[in-house]
């Protein structure tokens, strides 16, 4: 953009973005993360990426991004180091109502569209899956959203949220359903009152919310068990697939495709992409959000 020698020594705003965006090693690390994990830090997030790489540099006593890039590509510990970096990038990501454009899309477009397709059925059932639910914030967020729509879109619809994770300790915390201020930072006082009860300094999810969610342990790499997760209307799988390599990701996403009913949706993390992972889903756009859509029939056939 601007000529480097005209930039001020302590750039701010766009100039700072441009400075970070001009660092070739940072861009290479960004592209590597995208290639390996399907998660993208756009130009305006490169300062954030630089900061997170900085933490790893300190830990490893490395002094330059160039050396760190080598560490991520050539050293014997490159796979482990990539996991460490991905951990730094996705740290603190979990909270209630994390991605509001995504939830708005679910509420205003996705649920009405799915139910319209089911309008001919006498018994209407809606099944949402929080895959890689960690400590349960996303699963309970979905349950609250379903409760909010109970008198509207979801009148006379039987709803359930299936929530799975590999980690038993996370699942225990999820089932307990007790959260502190950090996890609840996007929950307004009205909603706190309506869907939570005080539990000491913290808040516990009310039983009516809990009753909609079924937690269970599931390894997404367990093909046999993945085959049985049938009849899904919406799957949320946010910042989970980044920990698998391309081959495994392809397999998991194919399972998702098979487990979803026709006219259904897969949501992934805000910065995640399934480019090169699956060609059956259609990338669809909502205001401020995207999702992967499984159409009625596959376009162009295929296996």
């Amino acid at each position: 953009m601007a000529n480097a020698n005209l930039l001020s020594p302590t750039p701010t705003g766009l100039a700072a973005q441009a400075a970070a965006a001009q660092n070739p090693h940072l861009r290479k690390i960004r592209d590597l993360i995208y290639q390996v994990a399907g998660i993208l830090q756009p130009d305006h997030k490169l300062q954030f990426l630089e900061d997170r790489c900085g933490r790893r540099l300190q830990q490893l006593k490395i002094t330059s991004l160039r050396a760190y890039y080598d560490c991520l590509t050539m050293s014997s510990v490159r796979d482990d180091e990539m996991k460490e970096l991905l951990n730094e990038i996705t740290i603190g990501e979990t909270c209630f109502f994390r991605n509001s454009p995504q939830l708005d899309a679910l509420r205003t477009v996705v649920l009405p569209a799915i139910l319209k397709n089911k309008s001919h059925l006498a018994y209407r059932h809606l099944r949402l899956w929080s895959a890689g639910c960690s400590t349960g914030e996303e699963a309970y967020t979905l349950a609250i959203l379903l409760l909010q729509e109970r008198e509207g879109t979801l009148k006379n619809v039987n709803v359930e949220v299936v929530a799975t994770d590999l980690n038993l300790r996370s699942l225990e915390a999820a089932q307990a359903g007790v959260y502190g201020d950090y996890a609840l930072r996007n929950v307004n006082p009205l909603m706190r009152q309506k869907y939570f009860i005080p539990a000491g300094e913290r808040l516990a999810v009310k039983p009516e919310v809990k009753s909609l969610v079924k937690f269970s342990r599931l390894n997404l790499m367990d093909d046999a068990r993945m085959t049985f997760m049938k009849g899904m209307d919406v799957i949320f799988c946010c910042n989970v697939m980044i920990y698998f390599d391309g081959v495994v990701r392809k397999r998991i996403v194919q399972h998702y495709y098979n487990n979803l009913l026709p006219n259904s949706y897969l949501f992934v993390g805000h910065a995640e992409s399934l480019y090169g992972i699956n060609n059956d889903f259609h990338l669809v756009h909502f205001p401020g959000a995207t999702a992967y859509f499984k159409a009625e029939k596959r376009i162009g056939g295929g296996a």
Partner: protein
């Protein structure tokens, strides 16, 4: 548009004294913008912009705004071109020259419309570049100009236009559909009338007229399709003009996508997910550009 409506609007356009006259340098700049930045001599850009001293002064104020973070004040057009590059400076000049032509206020906030036009310009250029369209700079200009019809409508038939704009925002529907329903014509057709009066180069006339009807465009379909796709993407990524009308789009299933893909083989492997995420980087830049532009008027 029926013959009768066309005549009515033409009459109005002729009657209205406030109808914008063409900015003197717009056509030279547009013609110039059709050439790749690498092939253009610094002297020619400097010469074109310097023909209009007030435009040159506006460009310099813009160049020195915090947007570009320049360390020393730039006080000549030549200095601006050397510092920011040919491509940036002629884009700034075009935005300044268009802004000078319009000073309308109305239901669609003019500032938001400018933000949207700048955003579509940037997105169309990026899309053109990544999809292998040979003239990304032309896509930028086309994006900047695509909604000029709205500014003309605000000047030529404000009551009719505002009715449609209010309906669009009330019912969360696309503006051009409300215009057609209520008024029998849309900003594309009005924009095309202005484009013909101004004798804009043919590709831009097509973009103004057909960006909501890509398949109807007799020529320059690839360019029209790129601007149309950029327009939809901008309206979906907080770069619209305030009306949130689109609920759900499968962009790759849009007729515009197929039309562009027919001419651009690179679109077969296009990573739309990544492209979409990268657009969010434009939000701040567009906001700051508009602020800088509006400080000039």
């Amino acid at each position: 548009m029926s013959q009768a409506t066309r005549e009515r609007i033409e009459r109005k356009l002729a009657e209205i004294g406030s109808l914008p006259t063409i900015p003197t340098l717009l056509v030279p700049l547009l013609q110039h913008l059709c050439e790749p930045a690498e092939d253009v001599s610094l002297d020619r850009v400097v010469k074109i912009i310097s023909q209009d001293p007030s435009l040159a002064a506006q460009c310099l104020r813009m160049v020195n705004s915090p947007l570009f973070g320049v360390r020393y004040p730039i006080d000549t057009v030549r200095g601006a071109v050397m510092g920011l590059g040919v491509s940036r400076v002629r884009q700034i000049a075009m935005a300044c020259s268009l802004l000078k032509a319009f000073s309308t206020k109305g239901a669609v906030p003019v500032r938001a419309l400018w933000a949207h036009s700048l955003a579509v310009a940037m997105v169309a250029q990026k899309f053109a570049h990544e999809a292998g369209y040979p003239e990304p700079e032309q896509a930028y200009s086309a994006g900047l100009l695509h909604d000029l019809g709205i500014l003309v409508a605000l000047a030529a038939c404000p009551a009719e236009f505002e009715g449609a704009a209010q309906a669009a925002s009330r019912e969360h529907r696309a503006l051009y559909l409300c215009e057609r329903e209520l008024n029998g014509f849309d900003h594309g057709e009005i924009g095309a009338m202005l484009a013909r009066r101004w004798r804009l180069p043919a590709p831009y006339q097509h973009v103004l007229q057909y960006h909501h009807d890509v398949e109807q465009a007799p020529e320059y379909r690839c360019l029209v399709a790129i601007v149309s796709l950029a327009d939809v993407l901008c309206r979906l990524r907080s770069l619209g003009y305030g009306c949130e009308e689109i609920g759900f789009v499968d962009l790759a299933a849009e007729p515009a996508w197929a039309l562009a893909a027919a001419e651009l083989p690179k679109m077969r492997d296009f990573d739309l997910a990544r492209f979409t995420l990268e657009l969010d980087a434009f939000i701040t830049e567009v906001e700051q550009s508009v602020t800088a532009l509006f400080e000039l008027v």
